[in-house]
């Protein structure tokens, strides 16, 4: 009995001992990137990492000098499996490795518990995609995001649905994730405030593929617009099933479906779908088209948030340049002064670390491609 405990511990120690020690290099500045790289959201996670990687490679190619010394950036990509517990372990690992800053995490559910660890270590964190209001409402000086939060985007979408799409009766579906539910709730508030009535509130999950039951139920309520808070793997089939059931309401969504994958998954039924994306259109931005071209040549099509991860790296590095150092405290002090023209728009932060004055652009699928409808500032 007792020797088994000893051997149990020995095995643990041996297993734990496999990890090599972190190496310390004076000229290398490490930047962490955390996102789910396995599991159902792996495609989004890899996209974020690729966006950050492209920025790091470009900055290295141009050369970066801090404190009079040339430095090289190194991107450390970690997998948090979209699991809050794993997220904190990875966060602590990055802290141990002495990263200068972290781009991540992808999900609000991992970003929030991890932000506490980065805050305790004083390390700046910029999330390219977490939208939950709670993330920046914790009072952590180290927490920033380059993505609009649910409230900002939901408001724009709600007003647009009523004022520009002329919706009087609205049906809302969300995927019961922190992102989908948060966005749908804020959309509902804004749409009601603008004078529309919500005739149906339905729910699905982020693993579902069959939406016929809820869509049939929605059809019986005759809405003008169906809003979906969720991602393209659900949004695509949902658009198809709407048409198949003869539901003629317009389909509206957030940044989760504003991507090429949605059009591929929905096929011809994507036509007419309206969706928003925070920031200005990529093509309208100086350097936006170039970014898209370089990214696609290197990694293939953009999923969703790669441009935000790309901008987040630049925002971090620009702060380092202003501080002329990668020292955590100095960079954290510089970040609120950010005023950066990124590929997703002009990025500035408010006192909480949210983006301010960020524009939200609305797009519509026409002839199998997203076309800009208008930009709301």
């Amino acid at each position: 009995m007792r020797y088994s405990i000893v051997s149990a511990l020995l095995v643990t120690l041996i297993a734990a001992g496999c990890g090599p020690k972190p190496e310390v290099g004076s000229e290398v500045i490490k930047i962490g990137s955390v996102a789910p790289l396995t599991g159902p959201q792996a495609h989004l996670g890899k996209d974020n990492e690729n966006g950050a990687r492209l920025a790091v490679e470009e900055i290295n190619a141009k050369g970066l000098t801090l404190g009079g010394k040339p430095v090289k950036l190194e991107l450390i990509g970690e997998d948090d499996q979209a699991d809050p517990k794993t997220g904190t372990v990875v966060a602590q690992k990055l802290v141990d490795l002495g990263v200068a800053g972290v781009i991540g995490h992808l999900n609000s559910g991992t970003t929030i518990p991890a932000s506490k660890i980065y805050f305790d270590a004083g390390i700046p964190q910029i999330s390219p995609s977490a939208t939950a209001i709670a993330y920046t409402a914790q009072g952590y000086k180290t927490a920033f995001r380059v993505m609009t939060n649910d409230e900002q985007q939901g408001k724009v979408l709600g007003q647009f649905a009523v004022n520009s799409m002329g919706a009087k009766k609205i049906a809302i579906i969300d995927d019961r994730t922190a992102y989908g539910q948060g966005l749908a709730d804020e959309f509902e508030k804004a749409a009601k405030a603008a004078g529309a009535s919500v005739v149906a509130r339905e729910f699905t999950s982020d693993r579902a593929t069959d939406f016929t039951a809820i869509l049939t139920s929605i059809k019986s309520k005759n809405p003008d617009v169906v809003f979906f808070g969720g991602m393209d793997p659900q949004g695509g089939p949902m658009a198809q099933q709407m048409k198949r059931l003869g539901l003629t309401a317009k389909f509206l969504g957030g940044d989760g479906i504003q991507n090429g994958n949605f059009i591929k998954l929905a096929g011809v039924e994507a036509e007419g779908t309206v969706a928003s994306l925070p920031g200005l259109p990529l093509d309208a931005m100086p350097g936006g088209a170039g970014f898209k071209q370089r990214f696609e040549a290197r990694f293939g099509p953009i999923q969703v948030y790669a441009p935000y991860a790309y901008d987040a790296v630049y925002v971090l590095v620009e702060a380092m340049k202003r501080a002329d150092s990668a020292d955590h405290a100095k960079v954290v002090a510089e970040l609120p002064k950010t005023d950066f023209e990124g590929v997703t728009g002009r990025i500035r932060f408010d006192a909480k670390g949210d983006t301010t004055g960020g524009a939200v652009t609305l797009y519509q699928v026409k002839n199998g491609a997203w076309v800009v409808l208008e930009t709301v500032k």
Binding site: T38, E202, T212, I214, S217, P233, G236, R244, L265
Partner: protein, 309 residues
């Protein structure tokens, strides 16, 4: 009324899909009393292989009729999945046949993780769209919309069930399967090659999984390396609901689960006066499952097994 008919159709199609996958679970369980957790992943492989073949065929001969292209995909996916099923049984389950009951369950979970990650390495992390190749016939029945593909899925699952039933009841292999399920030792004494019977069960089940995978993927228009997990879980629940190990039970369980889910999502809000909504769809489904099992502990059509012979 038309809404109700539509919900019923929604449920029947979804249920037929569950039934197709559940048949594979039930066959393996019937003979080995083993939950083949990796069955959902075999389904996923079927969809992925078929999509890869479809991509190649479309590249070579873009003018071929869509139905033929999909058929080519299915015809390649079936043998690949059969081989996969055969290897799974040979490598991961056969060595554990006399091991404790839960050991093969853990290997099955391990296999499921391995297959997912292999698929991720081969086909990437993105969701893959299934090209719109199949003819889109739409009909209206009592005010509800039905498509060709939906009718095809329902008919196919019924045909497959009947075929399986015929095979198990009327053929030599079927008799050997039933004998093996009763008692491996006695079957062996009677001259049944138990190993090949079990291997055949896996191979047939995997062929079904391949067909089911392509159907799911074509119907919903996408495939992803993670798609097998939830599908497998639902199908397994369906098999248990109907009485696991029983072919007609898998069919009944699948259809029932599909209809319960559709009606649950469609009407739960009205039934509870808006207190519970469609987010409690799975709660509703599980609740029915639990209720059935409490009153019929071996599922709807499962045999009542004496506690001790």
């Amino acid at each position: 009324m038309d809404i109700f008919v539509q919900q019923l159709i929604n449920g029947l199609v979804l249920g037929s899909i569950y039934a197709l996958v559940a048949l594979g679970y039930t066959m393996v369980y019937g003979i080995l009393e083993l939950i083949n957790f990796a069955h959902g992943e075999v389904t996923m492989f079927g969809a992925m292989v078929a999509l890869a073949v479809i991509g190649v065929v479309l590249g070579v001969a873009p003018d071929l009729p869509g139905l033929l292209v999909v058929l080519a995909g299915v015809l390649v996916a079936i043998p690949v999945c059969m081989l996969l099923g055969f290897s799974i049984e040979r490598l991961a389950y056969r060595p554990l046949r006399n091991a404790p009951r839960l050991a093969p369950l853990i290997t099955a979970i391990g296999l499921s993780i391995v297959l997912q990650n292999v698929a991720m390495l081969i086909w990437g992390r993105q969701y893959i769209a299934f090209p719109p190749l199949l003819p889109k016939g739409q009909y209206e029945v009592l005010g509800a919309h039905v498509s060709n593909l939906q009718i095809f899925i329902v008919v196919l699952s019924i045909l497959v069930m009947l075929g399986l039933w015929f095979m198990v009841q009327k053929t030599r292999l079927g008799r050997a399967m039933r004998a093996t399920a009763q008692s491996r030792a006695v079957a062996q004494l009677m001259g049944v090659n138990v190993n090949s019977v079990i291997a055949a069960t896996f191979v047939i089940g995997s062929a079904l999984a391949a067909v089911a995978g392509v159907m799911v993927s074509a119907y919903y228009g996408l495939a992803h390396y993670y798609m097998g997990f939830l599908l497998g879980l639902k199908a397994f629940s369906a098999a248990v609901l109907g009485g696991i190990g029983n072919i007609a039970g898998a069919m009944l369980g699948g259809l029932l689960l599909g209809v319960i889910e559709a009606l649950g999502a469609g009407y739960i809000g009205d039934l509870t006066g808006g207190f519970l909504g469609s987010h409690y769809q799975d709660v509703f489904a599980f609740f029915v499952l639990i209720l059935v099992l409490v009153f019929r502990p071996s599922g709807l059509l499962g045999e009542r097994v004496a506690t001790r012979a």
